[in-house]
């Protein structure tokens, strides 16, 4: 059982939902990211998602895109993000997930990336522009190294897609709550409820919901429908404004 699977299992036994905050590695600096990870864990995060800055983040909205631009200005790359994880691993064992676009991984070399990510202490990888249909090599190599490959489903997903993606997804299934980019407004509608219940029907895997969740009320609504809640843009915005993220995470923790 992987660390991510263990986390969901433990939370289930405690009748709790997973809180998964996202921050951009290197925004505003790699040192700050290390500090934020510690603060988020202290505030009650269960799993942490680290964004890898990329020049053309087409699944992200302006908040995360700008965070990526700030990190890139600091010279942060996939390679440096892996070193950061290595550093973080000296102080905490909280499950860490990288969210990166496919090209940096492809350029790094899938084999080299997977083995070095695992060695650094990465537990799972989310690649929004890599669908299972194109991920054969990546899935095979990741499986060998016990790295969780987390794939995305959306309200538009057909039954056929739900089956395919649920099967390929390891650790948990990432349900994108909106048809849109990160940071857009959440709407809990029938297509969300239908897709979530379809996922439950075809896969015995935890589902975490992300995209568009920006406050404790929305987190509460979503957490009732899934095993985990992912919050990105709202935290990234707090960091950009120089606000304390600890309290924000705490309020979400209490809400779910």
């Amino acid at each position: 059982m992987t660390k991510i699977e263990k986390t969901f299992k433990k939370l289930k036994q405690q009748n709790k939902k997973a809180l998964i905050p996202y921050i951009m590695a290197g925004d505003p600096s790699l040192e700050a990211t290390k500090k934020f990870v510690a603060e988020m864990e202290e505030a009650g995060a269960d799993i942490i998602e680290l964004g890898v800055p990329f020049s053309d983040p087409l699944a992200d909205g302006p908040t995360i895109q700008r965070a990526g631009e700030r990190a890139m200005k600091q010279g942060v790359t996939l390679r440096k993000t892996l070193s950061l994880v290595e550093g973080i691993r000296q102080t905490t064992q909280i499950p860490l997930i990288l969210m990166t676009y496919y090209n940096p991984v492809f350029k790094y070399g899938i084999k080299a990336f997977v083995s070095e990510a695992v060695r650094a202490g990465v537990d799972g990888v989310i690649i929004p522009d890599l669908i299972p249909d194109e991920a054969g090599d990546f899935i095979r190599i990741a499986k060998k190294h016990k790295l969780d490959t987390i794939f995305l489903l959306a309200p538009t997903s057909t039954e056929d897609r739900v089956r395919k993606v649920a099967k390929a997804s390891m650790g948990f299934i990432y349900y994108v709550s909106i048809t849109g980019i990160t940071g857009a407004r959440l709407s809990v509608d029938d297509s969300m409820k239908n897709t979530l219940s379809l996922i439950k029907k075809v896969a015995e895997k935890p589902v975490a919901v992300g995209f568009g969740i920006s406050n404790p009320e929305e987190a509460a609504v979503v957490s009732a429908l899934a095993e985990g809640v992912i919050i990105g843009s709202a935290i990234v915005r707090q960091i950009a404004e120089g606000k304390d993220i600890k309290n924000f995470i705490k309020t979400i923790r209490e809400a779910i």
């Binding site: 249909d133 194109e134 794939f151 538009t156 994108v176 849109g180 980019i181």
Partner: protein, 407 residues
């Protein structure tokens, strides 16, 4: 080389490892829906005859194949023919694809069209298609391109489209494509994205190629009628690669004569200020394999996999990647790829204007620049067909600015 090369892409949209679908999951149902709708339309007599009628009566097809006598005499070698896509309605080959996709979108019951545009020609073509079939239209365009192509921005607005400025990244075509993909991800239920070139996720590279292949089908008939033989060489510029595939596709498996070699084909990328300067958009000369905006292909990128900014005097060639079918054709050595620099393109732009009275688009001027290099060395009875992908009206202001002339 055999008929097999025309059978690709496969069902996953792969051209021997290039292409595919690298998009957010949210778009997958739309891509599958589009693929099925396209398959159906290709066999739908009603759709095909409507498209055929519009091609003839609205776009102005077939476009002429013009023997450029003055240019031929000037260069003193092969006979040069120009395939006059610049005479299409709206002034470029882009209308062939945009109008066909607009019809397809209407058949699919979509109410809104979006598109990205670099030089503005695809934006104008999409806005035209939207106006004709009666759909709402929004065009994304980088702010740098809006400056370079202000005339086309005005044309799109006249045609009733909303033009949205993209200020992220390099503020050019690639950023406009990212914005279009984001819009599509958000509004996928009622919106069709008219991608303007043989790029992006499957089925676009195939569908756009098919809609553009009318160029080569016509050129083939026309040259056989005029010269009783096939051309020795075809030349076209390559940005995303739609006008070049459009011309080349009908000749891919053609021999010049039964015993002779294949029809030679040359694709011309934007060499900008030279490959060593780093300011160019020559993906084959200066790029490496990567995955970008839905597609595995050659890409201008750094060692970390971040996409590099590009440069070309021509907004339409200023793109970091290239259609996946071109990568495959390059591997097969079926199409040769080279580049022309900004200076060479500007010289060709003036040369064609003066010798033939035809002001080419700066994109097409890259193809003319290559013709200037290869034609003189070829025998006088040999034939070159150059795809004149668009007319230069849109580039006149920018050309004047480069020459330091205030209009």
């Amino acid at each position: 080389m055999n008929k097999k090369i025309k059978k690709l892409p496969d069902s996953k949209g792969h051209f021997n490892g290039y292409g595919g679908r690298f998009v957010p999951e949210t778009l997958m149902p739309a891509l599958i829906e589009l693929e099925q709708a396209y398959k159906k339309c290709k066999k739908d007599k009603g759709f095909l005859s409507e498209l055929d009628l519009l091609q003839r009566t609205y776009i102005g097809r077939p476009t002429p194949l013009y023997f450029a006598r003055m240019l031929t005499e000037n260069l003193g070698g092969a006979k040069i023919y120009l395939k006059r896509e610049d005479l299409c309605h709206t002034g470029a080959h882009k209308i062939n694809n945009a109008l066909a996709q607009a019809l397809l979108a209407k058949k699919m019951g979509k109410t809104r069209l979006i598109a990205e545009t670099g030089a503005g020609q695809h934006g104008v073509a999409t806005a035209t298609g939207a106006a004709l079939v009666g759909l709402e239209c929004e065009i994304y365009m980088g702010s740098e391109d809006m400056r370079r192509q202000s005339l086309n921005v005005f044309r799109m607005r006249l045609l009733g489209a909303k033009v949205t400025e993209v200020t992220t990244g390099s503020k050019t075509l690639k950023d406009a494509i990212s914005e279009s993909l984001r819009d599509w991800t958000t509004n996928v239920r009622n919106t069709h994205y008219i991608l303007g070139t043989v790029f992006g996720p499957h089925p676009y590279p195939r569908m756009v190629r098919d809609f553009q292949s009318v160029i080569g089908i016509e050129a083939r008939k026309q040259i056989l009628k005029a010269e009783k033989k096939l051309p020795d060489c075809l030349i076209a510029c390559v940005g995303g690669g739609s006008n070049s595939i459009g011309l080349f596709y009908a000749f891919l498996t053609s021999h010049v004569s039964p015993l002779m070699s294949y029809v030679r084909m040359i694709g011309v990328e934007a060499g900008g200020q030279g490959i060593e300067s780093g300011l160019h958009a020559a993906r084959f000369a200066g790029g490496s394999l990567g995955v970008f905006q839905g597609c595995k292909s050659y890409l201008l990128q750094d060692d970390d996999g971040n996409v590099l900014t590009t440069h070309s005097v021509s907004a339409g060639l200023d793109y970091a990647s290239v259609g996946p079918e071109h990568c495959y054709m390059r591997d097969l050595k079926r199409i040769e790829y080279t580049y022309a620099t900004d200076d060479e393109a500007m010289n060709a732009f003036e040369l064609l204007s003066r010798t033939e009275g035809i002001i080419p688009a700066l994109e097409s001027a890259h193809a003319i620049a290559e013709t200037v290099k290869v034609a003189p060395a070829m025998p006088k009875d040999s034939i070159i067909i150059v795809n004149l992908s668009g007319r230069g009206d849109k580039d006149v202001q920018e050309a004047a600015r480069i020459k330091g002339i205030t209009l």
